[in-house]
């Protein structure tokens, strides 16, 4: 090691920064070099003297101010995190609504519009309503081509059904009186649909056969002629029946034979109809839901009430079977059960859970507490309450207002920097931006006033 190297490392040696092996080398050179030894001694003496420099403690108020700001920043981070986690928990629909609402509307208005849209779409697709349109327009269409309405639509009773329990089959059977009443109503249906005379005639002629509701015929399969008599002019119905007839299980030779198994197959799916009206009633109910036992009878009651009931029944899910079979012929209960079954679409339209309301109420209560504390002179307690409120309820709609009030409290205490922080946060809310700006301007004036007062006499 030469003097140059040693000289560059003497300060490190004095500071104890050298590794042990390097320190040994430098030390060895210094011990053998008078110039370096002198240099080392001078630097060591200077350092010893310099280390007498006093080290003063900063005032505690600096730490308090800085830590207050650190707490604010930390609270902001935590509030942001809780908001993010709430957003993560938020259902996709809510996020979509919030996204939509971000453009021009408030979230409530946007939610109402989306609900209206969805209800409108739902109403459009209700089989009962489409059946109404079909009847009014004179066209006969299959009200439920995709079977999406399930059995509830096909066996929807226009009149309360008079059912009794057949102990042999353990099934609900219509009472004779009810069947007669339905049959008697058929001509009215025919008159109501003059544009479809053939169909009307079919109904008239088919009415006795639709006495699928007649107890005597319950156990017998429905004659094919009677099934044929069911109006099938609707193109969609035809295509559906044709599609069903194309199933490979059997190859019917006649149209009647093609229709009958198809209807039987459908009937097997229509569990509620099967339970309520018996096997003989199935083809009728399934093939002509708009004009059959349900539809024909439905014409005898006001359209409005049918519409209501359609809304109820269309919302009922397929599991209505068990509810109906358990009733043992109680007709009123049949309708009631169907209406009482929760609609599958209901969760989308369900009101927000009470937890959200509770949170809002809690936030409002905390806000009120903070205000009371502020009004009664408990400024620091109020500040703590406001900060807790803002941190705990970042989505509270009046949080920006709370920030403004909190800023005012800081201003009262003379902590203008904290006041500015809260004003800046409140300013992010469009609804409160104006107030926040005004408050900031007042704060600026407040700061300028003492400065101007101090500068005034000096300039004079």
């Amino acid at each position: 090691m030469n003097c140059e190297n040693a000289k560059s490392q003497i300060l490190d040696l004095l500071g104890g920064d050298l590794r042990a092996e390097d320190a040994v080398l430098v030390r060895a050179h210094i011990d053998g070099c008078e110039a370096c030894l002198r240099d080392h001694a001078q630097l060591a003496a200077a350092l010893r003297l310099a280390r007498g420099m006093p080290v003063e403690a900063p005032p505690s108020r600096v730490r308090e101010t800085v830590m207050a700001r650190a707490r604010l920043a930390s609270a902001g981070v935590q509030a942001g995190r809780s908001t993010a986690s709430e957003e993560a928990r938020e259902p996709a629909l809510s996020r979509f609504v919030r996204w939509i609402s971000g453009f021009v509307l408030g979230p409530q208005v946007a939610m109402a519009m989306v609900l209206l849209l969805m209800v409108g779409v739902g109403l459009f697709y209700l089989p009962g309503l489409r059946r109404d349109r079909a009847v009014q327009g004179g066209a006969i269409v299959n009200a439920d081509p995709g079977d999406e309405a399930g059995p509830s639509a096909t066996m929807e009773p226009a009149e309360p059904l008079d059912l009794r329990l057949d102990t042999r089959t353990n099934r609900l059977q219509p009472a004779a009186g009810a069947a007669e009443q339905v049959i008697a109503a058929r001509p009215t249906t025919a008159v109501a649909i003059p544009s479809d005379e053939v169909a009307a005639e079919d109904i008239q002629s088919g009415a006795p056969s639709s006495a699928t509701l007649v107890p005597g015929e319950v156990t017998e399969p429905e004659p094919i002629e009677q099934v044929h008599a069911i109006p099938l002019e609707g193109p969609s119905t035809r295509s559906r029946l044709a599609a069903r007839a194309a199933t490979p299980e059997e190859e019917p030779s006649t149209e009647e034979e093609r229709v009958a198994p198809a209807l039987d197959e459908r009937a097997a799916e229509e569990d509620v109809a099967l339970q309520a009206t018996g096997r003989a009633a199935e083809p009728y109910a399934a093939a002509a839901p708009g004009r059959g036992s349900g539809g024909a009878s439905a014409d005898a009651e006001p359209v409005a009430s049918r519409r209501e009931r359609s809304l109820e029944t269309s919302a009922a899910p397929p599991p209505a079977r068990s509810a109906l079979s358990a009733m043992g012929g109680a007709r009123a209960s049949a309708v009631g059960s169907m209406a009482a079954v929760p609609a599958p679409a209901a969760p989308s339209f369900a009101p927000s859970p009470p937890a959200g309301g509770d949170r809002l109420r809690m936030a409002a209560a905390q806000h009120a507490t903070a205000r009371t504390q502020a009004q009664t002179g408990q400024v620091r307690a109020a500040i703590a309450s406001y900060e807790t409120l803002i941190r705990s309820h970042p989505t509270y709609e009046r949080a920006p207002e709370a920030m403004l009030e909190l800023a005012e409290l800081h201003r009262r205490l003379g902590d203008l920097s904290s006041a500015r922080v809260w004003l800046a946060r409140a300013e992010r809310s469009p609804a409160y931006a104006g107030r926040a700006r005004s408050a900031r301007t007042r704060l600026d004036d407040l700061e300028r006033a003492p400065a101007a007062a101090a500068a005034g006499p000096a300039s004079e």
């Binding site: 300060l11 001078q42 003496a45 200077a46 010893r48 310099a50 280390r51 108020r61 800085v66």
Partner: protein, 205 residues
């Protein structure tokens, strides 16, 4: 979660603070509050202004905590902030510091009695602590009288015991330049405080 900070590196504490742990920042402040304050105090030479700058330094740390990527040490980042604030301040207030150094009683202008003269009448068993109390302001004044480029190096080295390579990063010059400035600073101090050299031992005890 509360953090006493003892088990964490500076950089980890800052990350924890960025994640919302205010105690981590408190630990950082505990570590650096005093040395940074003295660094600023000797740089600006005025206590009130030093307090304001200390506050500004840590407030900037809070504001920019998210920007700290951990590519450098926290200490160099912190002292860079403090140094920049001091430079801005010295540009505005340079005359003030000179004025205070010229004030009577600073002990550096040759006016008034020296420490030796003032302690000559002391008995042999004079209170060493009282000598130290008298000596310390002289040293502080001598440090404040150093050229700025030497003073900042000396302060970072002595107050924070910062490695020369880290000081080089803060100041933005090569490490050898930093060492040279440290040498010059020590030589100047020794020259300025030559009459008190005999009392240096008092400060060590």
């Amino acid at each position: 979660m509360a953090t006493n900070g003892l088990e964490f590196a500076d950089e980890d504490l800052l990350k924890r603070f960025s994640a919302g742990d205010v105690h981590a920042f408190e630990a950082l402040m505990t570590r650096y509050e005093r040395p940074v304050f003295n660094f600023i105090l000797r740089q600006v030479g005025e206590r009130t202004r030093a307090e304001e700058l200390l506050q500004d330094t840590f407030l900037r740390v809070i504001e920019r905590a998210d920007d700290f990527k951990g590519e450098s040490k926290f200490s160099t980042w912190l002292y860079t902030i403090a140094r920049n604030l001091c430079i801005d301040e010295s540009r505005k207030m340079v005359f003030r510091r000179h004025k205070s150094l010229d004030a009577p009683g600073s002990g550096l202008d040759g006016d008034g009695p020296s420490l030796l003269e003032r302690t000559a009448g002391h008995e042999a068993g004079a209170d060493r602590r009282s000598i130290a109390r008298e000596l310390q302001p002289q040293i502080a004044a001598a440090v404040e009288a150093l050229p700025e480029e030497q003073r900042e190096v000396f302060l970072m080295r002595e107050l924070q015991h910062m490695p020369f390579k880290d000081i080089a990063l803060v100041v933005g010059v090569p490490e050898n330049t930093v060492k040279s400035r440290m040498r010059y600073a020590l030589e100047r101090l020794q020259a300025a405080l030559a009459e008190y050299a005999d009392y240096a031992g008092v400060l060590d005890e």
